[in-house]
Amino acid sequence: MLDLDISQLSRLQFGLTALYHFLFVPLTIGLALLLAIMESVYVMTNREIWRQMTKFWGLLFGINFAMGIATGITMEFQFGTNWAYYSHYVGDIFGAPLAIEGLMAFFLEATFVGLFFFGWDRLSKVGHLTVTWLVAIGSNLSAFWILVANAWMQNPVGSQFNFQTMRMEMTSFYDVIFNPVAQSKFVHTVSACYVTGAVFVMAISAYYLLKGRHQELAKRSMTVAASFGLASALSVVVLGDESGYTTSQNQKMKLAAIEAMWETESAPAGFTVFGLPNLETHTNAYELKVPWVLGLIATRTLDTPLLGIKDLVTQAETRIRRGIIAYGALYNLRRGTGVPDPQTLSLFNEYQKDLGYGLLLKRYTPTVTDATNAQIKQAAWDTVPNIIPLFWSFRFMVGIGFTLIALFATAFYLSAKRRLVESRWFLKLALLSLPLPWIASELGWIVAEHGRQPWAIEGILPTSLGVSSVTSGQVWFSLIGFVVFYSLLALVDVVLMIKYIKLGPGQEPLPNLRTKRRIA
């Protein structure tokens, strides 16, 4: 009944649409806060240039915002269309933060964003500033709730399986919100968004300064971006470390895969800066290690060993064996009617923590309980995510993080020394850095989500089981449709961005087609 192709196709579609969405979201969140900061300066100093800056960056914000909305709509409904079983299995917990996001955050952001554009002449200065801040707050809250939902996929706290409803159910909303993974993810991700906003403003300001246009606006924008960006870039890296720590607590396999750490290392483990992981021999060639660093980041101690992939696979095998017992008990419970047999129930309760590991066998044998030793071993190795893309994505992401700190620090130094305008080498460098935060964000997303595989919900629900009962033809159709459509729109977005960046601030109202003839 279950076609594996469907799960791969659905993953491809979800992954691609999420990556598209994440091209626009970081800039929205980052720029929204920068706009609020610029407008605050305007209201406090009453200097017209700051209002112009807010309006100009706001125009570019608007072009990007439309794409964020367009790509976001798909995300909200794709769980239902393509991940129906997932939606049933965890909707009781996962749906709540998504709905609250709409109610508390997205409503706020979307309702006031219209006033941000259309309210300039209708609101008092402070009134408009309030609106801008509400948009910024809304977009940040939005990120918070989405990451609460996402963090639950990485670290499913506050919930328990209910055999009567055949799904996970919430046991503590408090635990779901205050999931430590949610907190570290939120601060890491929004800081990355601020960095994106700051690099965007800095690169385009650098372009103006290189061209000798709009110098007043560009210099001020650059100063704001440099200080805001430096603070954000530092916090991305520091809080990324927090993410590493929380990952080591609950997703040991993800961490081991990112490090391509085959064997358990004696404490404190070293960090592999470079190496060529070999998936056949389970070793790394040309390893270059910095001693102690990984152990310190991941365990914050000098004496806690970090488990390697091979030992984690052995652990997974034990859990799969327990999962088989859980699955067998669940099957009997579901089949029985009336009052459940107390013995089966207590057996299930004892082993249900490992039910998800039992479900890993569904790929090999639908009945699960008749799995052979070879199948169990195979399923245990399935818990290892795809090492090579993780290993490299992570290293490039971190590399970009440090590069951007250096960039912002330089900008900050130059602007403090008032040498920004004449340092053309730096302006060129700033302009060239424009794509970096996007690359880092997408790589970060890959590390987090690709590294979660084979799980949709870590340890609870394998991704391949979460799909809808649709045909591969249907998914191919929508997959191609989304990709073609999004690519076209993204192209239009870039064309418009370039056009309005070239036009620069202080442009005329949009022209009309001054024709009296009937239009289509």
Binding site: I63, G80, L103, T111, L115, F477, P509
Partner: protein, 383 residues
């Protein structure tokens, strides 16, 4: 535990009502945006006129659209089985809606940013589809829910849809689709008449009156269809309880020719719903004719409320009946989230929805007044 303050059965009924409220909120708020988009080719002839119409909704439509997004989120959180079975079952239709809704934000924002007749004509076409397609598909989806959807659950509660994409377009659902298009068009017309000057106002009034009449006719046709038993309803014969854990396989349901009228027979006060649907549409036509677009907007909103409630009350307690495996049908008693989740979500709605209504009202107040040619031509921020 605190969530036991409200019992499970009551929470399920409340969440059924909230689902209705969100749908009505969506129809009233985003309905007029879609109506305006549908009316673009019919009420505006020149580029300036078209921009006036677009700018009449430009400051508010993004907020309005959240009613749709929230509707999806609320179904996910409160009725996960419905979210899973309906959206995967209506796969092709959902894809169409999503593509149409993707065009909308981009079309609004990008249309006037480039000065070229073809560029603008393409986006105009996109905006029209962005209003028309979702309106049609929502009505068709509602119609299919009334006729029953071919799906079932296996013993692990995985849902299987056994129909095809084209099955969705049978005559009754199609009438429902046209009804929702005409209702949104009527609603959009009252809004346009309220927010613009002549000649758009006059054209909108005319279109609004026509849409109101068409709505009344289609509503009657749909009603007769059900009254004559051409669309059978469903009845629960046996169910283990109203506060049991959600398991849609624990009941017996049969198809029953006049079952969609049962509630109206048992509770005559429910006739208020279709009465509001008719009365609202009728008054809208009259008020548009005597040039009271503001009041017409309100009566048109009442019509949306009346028509959606008519369908909802008729279905109660069903949310998604199955035509091929009636006992797999989803009802409010066996498709909801857990007691705790329903309670938490109710608390969030009680806290945040009033706030949303207050600040939305404030935004509409700030943006009150008609959109003129001058606004569009001189404001650098206009679309």
């Amino acid at each position: 535990m605190i969530h036991e303050l409200v019992d499970y059965e009551t929470l399920r009924v409340i969440w059924w009502a909230l689902l209705g409220l969100l749908l009505i909120g969506f129809a009233i708020m985003d309905g007029f945006d879609m109506g305006v988009a549908i009316l673009l080719p019919f009420t505006t002839k020149t580029d300036t006129e078209r921009r006036i119409a677009i700018n009449s909704i430009a400051p508010v439509w993004e907020g309005n659209q959240v009613w749709f997004i929230l509707g999806g989120g609320a179904i996910f959180a409160a009725w996960p089985l419905v979210y899973a079975a309906a959206f995967s079952g209506f796969y092709g239709a959902m894809f169409l809606v999503l593509i149409a809704l993707i065009i909308r934000p981009v079309g609004m924002k990008y249309r006037s940013k480039i000065f070229h007749p073809i560029w603008r004509a393409v986006w105009d076409c996109g905006l029209f589809l962005g209003g028309f397609v979702p309106s049609l598909v929502f009505g068709i989806a509602f119609g299919n829910i009334l006729t029953g959807v071919p799906f079932y659950f296996d013993e692990t509660l995985r849902s299987f849809y056994t129909g095809s994409f084209l099955d969705l377009f049978s005559p009754f659902p199609f009438i429902c689709g046209l009804l929702s298009v005409s209702l949104f068009t009527m609603h959009g017309a009252t809004y346009l008449a309220l927010k613009t000057h002549d000649p758009i106002t006059t054209r909108s009034k005319k279109a609004g009156v026509r849409a109101a009449l068409v709505s009344m006719i289609l509503f009657t046709v749909g009603w007769l269809w059900i009254k004559n038993g051409w669309v059978p309803g469903y009845n629960i014969l046996e169910i283990s309880g109203f506060d049991e854990p959600s398991n849609p396989l624990g009941k017996i349901v049969t198809q029953d020719t006049y079952a969609w009228l049962t509630n109206y027979r048992l509770y005559p006060w429910m006739w208020a719903a279709p009465a509001l649907g008719y009365g609202g549409a009728c008054l809208t036509a009259v008020l548009l004719l005597i040039k009271h677009p503001g009041k017409a907007f309100i009566t048109s909103a009442v019509a949306q409320l009346g028509v959606i409630s008519t369908a909802g009350l008729s279905l109660f307690p069903f949310i998604l009946p199955s035509s091929t495996h009636p006992s797999s049908s989803l009802t409010i008693w066996d498709a909801s989230s857990s007691h705790m989740t329903l309670f938490i979500m109710l608390a969030s709605v009680i806290i945040f929805l009033p706030l949303v209504l207050i600040y939305t009202a404030w935004v509409f107040r700030v943006m009150r007044g008609k959109v003129s040619e001058e606004d569009v031509l001189t404001n650098t921020q206009s679309y």
